[in-house]
Symmetry: C2
């Protein structure tokens, strides 16, 4: 029987029941508190045979006791009780049961496989969709549905699926910190019923989703996945991190989500031939989301680099050249304009690099920095302007250094140029070491993200992400 395809009703629920929530802290309790903290707009029903109250909510003995219907059920009870829960949920009109519960096929035991089969049989018979098992379920910020209390509350345009719950937590938090917002995210674990292909098919048609990201360990039906991926990547960028692409990784993937991981070579050609952008770590995935979300496609690969510190300036040029960009020198007339600005704002050009790439550390005025970057951004020979600033070094020789606000001044100047000139720009706020550095870097990141600038946290990762972004657009 062909599975019913997923539509918006899969994500929009007016009531959630959490089976296995206890009055003292446990995972079910945590899910309840997430719903409340995330401002879930519907009813929340904790379920536990012991009854009681959780965070002011009545705990029902079983789902059958809940008044009215329940749309979405989260199972945190032992695996052996779950077939009954699916059946009872169906009776309550549930559309989906999601299983934090683990101990199924990924256990490698016959009993686990049998249980999965039974779940599927009950679900199909009763018209309920299953998410997982061994997953965290749905994140749909529009209705306040979440599986972590601190996920962004605003919705955005990234759709994300992950077989790993832990990886989905990290990805959503890390990308959230960099200004990324999600339409929907789905932690789908063992993919017993709802799988990557179902979700890719949905995202291809979802008007709220502009970019799709995935952490996949294995696929159930290769042919169907290939088609779903091809259709999706024809209309939206699809960025994929494949876990378990090595021998030991595949063993781990099997034990993690019961996945048959497949050979890396097969995946490499499958992904590249079907339009996916492949990345190799969660941080690379975040970088791609930042790039696709915040950077308009540059017209070409001619660029300029401007920032602080000579050594970092040299290394930034090296990274971008290695990544396939060019940093042409300015023609004499344009170079003279730059030199004139420098002469207005500094009594020496010592200790700076005043050809492409530019090191303007010793321009100590925001107006001077603005004037130089404005000239660079206005110059039609550059398709792209990349600014880079080291956080740690701005506190030299000590934390009270008068240069410690250099990054703030420089980024204000950059943001002003970004407002005024419509040219692709990016900023790398890098080299944080101490906790004070870290706090400053996060504040500056946020300021730039809020202004619509793509922000990166290391020079090599920025160059790599932009290269992948350009390759994507060059192929189209």
């Amino acid at each position: 029987m062909k599975k019913q395809s997923i539509d918006n009703s899969f994500f929009h629920h007016t009531s959630v029941a959490i089976a296995g929530a206890s009055t003292s802290y446990n995972i079910g309790h945590a899910f309840v508190s997430c719903m409340l903290d995330s401002g879930f707009k519907g009813k929340v029903y904790p379920l536990n045979p012991s009854g009681g109250e959780i965070l002011g909510l009545k705990v029902y003995h079983s789902i059958s006791d809940v008044p009215g219907t329940v749309d979405y059920v989260i199972s945190c009870i032992p695996a052996r009780f779950t077939p009954q829960l699916v059946s009872d949920s169906a009776a309550k009109g549930a559309k989906i049961v999601s299983f934090f519960t683990a101990g199924y096929s990924e256990s490698g035991r016959r009993g686990g496989l049998d249980l999965e089969e039974e779940l599927l049989r009950v679900a199909r018979a009763r018209g309920v969709r299953l998410l997982g098992p061994n997953c965290l379920g749905l994140y749909c910020p529009e209705i306040g549905l979440s599986f972590a209390c601190d996920f962004p509350k605003e919705k955005g345009s990234v759709g994300f699926i992950s077989q790993s719950g832990g990886n989905s937590i990290y990805l959503i938090r890390a990308a959230g910190q960099r200004g990324i917002r999600f339409s929907k995210a789905i932690s789908y674990g063992n993919a017993l019923d709802v799988d990557e292909s179902d979700l890719f098919e949905y995202f291809a048609t979802d008007g709220e989703t502009r970019i799709v990201a995935a952490y996949v360990e294995g696929v159930r039906d290769g042919r169907r996945f290939l088609e779903a991926l091809r259709n999706l990547s024809a209309v939206k960028p699809v960025i994929i991190l494949k876990g378990g692409c090595t021998g030991a990784g595949a063993v781990a993937a099997s034990s993690h989500t019961g996945s048959l991981a497949g050979s890396d070579e097969a995946w490499e050609s499958l992904l590249s031939q079907n339009g996916a952008i492949r990345v190799y770590s969660l941080d690379e995935l975040v970088d791609m989301l930042v790039t696709f979300s915040y950077m308009p496609p540059p017209q070409g690969r001619s660029m300029t680099v401007c920032g602080s510190n000579g050594g970092f300036t040299v290394l930034t040029a090296d990274e971008y050249i290695d990544a396939g960009f060019s940093l042409p020198s300015l023609p004499p007339k344009d170079q003279h304009e730059i030199n004139d600005v420098v002469a207005r704002f500094s009594n020496t050009d010592a200790g700076m690099i005043l050809s492409n790439p530019f090191d303007i550390t010793n321009i100590g005025s925001g107006e001077g920095q603005y004037s130089i970057m404005r000239l660079l951004a206005d110059n039609s020979m550059f398709d792209l302007v990349v600014a880079q600033v080291s956080i740690s070094n701005s506190g030299w020789p000590h934390e009270r250094s008068p240069f410690r606000f250099w990054p703030d001044m420089f980024l204000d100047a950059l943001l002003k140029v970004h407002c005024e000139v419509s040219k692709p720009m990016a900023v790398i706020i890098h080299s944080s070491i101490t906790d004070i550095d870290c706090q400053r870097a996060l504040e500056l990141q946020q300021k730039c993200s809020s202004a619509g600038l793509p922000v990166y946290i290391s020079i090599p990762s920025a160059a790599k992400a932009m290269d992948r972004f350009l390759r994507y657009h060059e192929k189209r």
Copy 2:
């Protein structure tokens, strides 16, 4: 005339004069405060024609007014006055003049080149060595000589040279945070007189230096450098980051330190044929210093991974396999031992990966974690144990999560095993997002470094560093 070779007297000074230090904040003032903050054991003489007092120290009008001799002079005065300063310094018995002052050959102007020639002429005639120009000079923690107030005060066994002052600040701070200590570090800028070859020759014989790191943009004398590198790498590991290895990077390097950067191909073969370990970023350089400083060479590439979160566990296995390691499965007897321990500490094995690589997130007791890692470390089939822990995810579903101390518990268990079993081990403390994460990660890093464990901050970078380390030892 062959240059006089560098010996310990180059680093050990009893008096320092800083030319161009002003009573209000400027660079010279900053150097003075660095000497005081770093506990320099000798005399500090600020120099300025305006006189006055800086941080309780009398400011002398010129170096000639200083009573007695001066060993080490730091120039922060305009370039045109520096030949006279070298001459006056020689008259005071100075061994070295170091130039923060820039505006020489790197300016690309005839006048800058002429000034360099004049400096060199005066220095050679008067028997003074020059450091830079366009540099930060010497860091020698043993005598409290430093060019940043917060560099580690304890000495160590890493010798470091850098053409870039900014890169030397970042490297020393970042490595310092990861538990690395230095014998001597030299920011040597344009390398007019003292150059990379002089310093490599010195480090080859320096009994206090066990590992050498370098950020180099270009070399003055290729043949001599090759010989110095070959001799040094024959006795100590030498890790090199080459800046300006691309066209635009080379243009920047020329404008940064007046360097002729050379082609990347030439450098690649020069470095690999002469025993250097090449890295491509400052963070990779830090990783190599951590590895060489803290990890005993493993006997082979058979390893086990143990840590938190299934998704990260899969990705860690992938990274290490890709880097050329193997993660063999346990034989049945050893696997049963692990399973028995798990059964003692958890009523289910759901949600864990209990084959190599291991995910023991759901073992909620330090004793259980210790028992598993002890079994793994004791197992002679593994040459290496790598532990990995995600900081962000331990605060799931919210910051008050009772699992938030999982990393602390896990690392305590690991440190206990590390104390008891003499097997190469490493720990990756990764995936920090917020400032709170960052603070926690730094504390845990420090705890592990203090206990002698090599600590890494990302999964891919850890695998890459260990692969380079193994390659180094496999070649010998």
